[in-house]
Symmetry: C2
Subunit: 213 residues, 2 copies
Amino acid sequence: MVALMQAKTAKRLAKRGPTAKKTALVRGEPVVRGILAATMEELAHAGYSALRIEDVAARAGVNKTTIYRRWPTKEELVRAALLSMGDDTICAPNTGALRSDLLALARKMVAIAGSPQGRSLTRVILAEGPDSELMTIAKSLRDVHEAVPRAMIEAAESRGELAPGIDAMLLFNVIGSAIHERLFLNRESVDDSFLNSLLDLLLLGAGPRRRPA
Amino acid sequence: MVALMQAKTAKRLAKRGPTAKKTALVRGEPVVRGILAATMEELAHAGYSALRIEDVAARAGVNKTTIYRRWPTKEELVRAALLSMGDDTICAPNTGALRSDLLALARKMVAIAGSPQGRSLTRVILAEGPDSELMTIAKSLRDVHEAVPRAMIEAAESRGELAPGIDAMLLFNVIGSAIHERLFLNRESVDDSFLNSLLDLLLLGAGPRRRPA
């Protein structure tokens, strides 16, 4: 994804010619991280509809043209901010077994969803309504978010750890739902004991175990 | 639960003596249903903290003393309103097999959670914050809400349909979480095709099936 964004930046720069190069912002630079963090904060504060680039600029302490230069529309800015969430922490675990991979990923999901950023994002998405632009942006990022599960499923399949015919992506979605429900609706903490019971249920199944190999 | 409430009413009447009997409201009477429905509507409109008995009375078209007589506190009124949700529809399915019981229950959960009442209740609970009185009331109703799953688990165990050592209540919670996530966070519909994939995953498990009986 970082590569994709760098490619896009390069393309945009090429259109503008060599002079634009000096002002290009590279992802990972402190100013970029500051703008994206400010965007998340404004999103939590004002919601998507009322979010203004001016307010993000003020919060980040930059000129608004600095933002427009890299993200010409509000949609692009918010998309980049959402993508930046958990950027440093989400990568496919590689423990050598599906169960321990799932436990490692679930712990990361708990950390991100339970963070102040994760909590306010959930609140904003719930408040914006079913056909909101924010919802559309969030859904468009699904492919990006599913990259980690896909890598884990592939590794598990190569080790023969998944039953044939099972909807493996649903396995990940159900883990996410169970974590969100506890954190946001029941307001309970999620510890390893809960995650282990959940993985027992999802990997072994609740039904009797008398099927042949 | 109905029996319990009737017993409480009888006790209250006994304290007041025979004259109170004329004004007693019996659960299921149109006026009671009207007050509880008005309470849910006010709750959706104002939230729990700002909910006033006067406004419920006005919405239901009754005198506020009619409400206070049966539910002396706001907490009791809201608890009764929450209990009345789905009262007519939730009873343990009895299809003779765990899987079809779960499918029947899941369909009812979708109908209740997706109703305007269910949606506004979720919104209000999410908005009220972690230590809200409404959250405390909702949690105190957990025993009541778990009566149906407990009956289904008992029946399934007697038919040998549950693996030993599995957390069967978690099975129900996970079905609920998956439905809520789709309805409230992803804003997607929940159809039988989704429910069947979910039940495949939860009953058969995602892991390889080569364990002995």
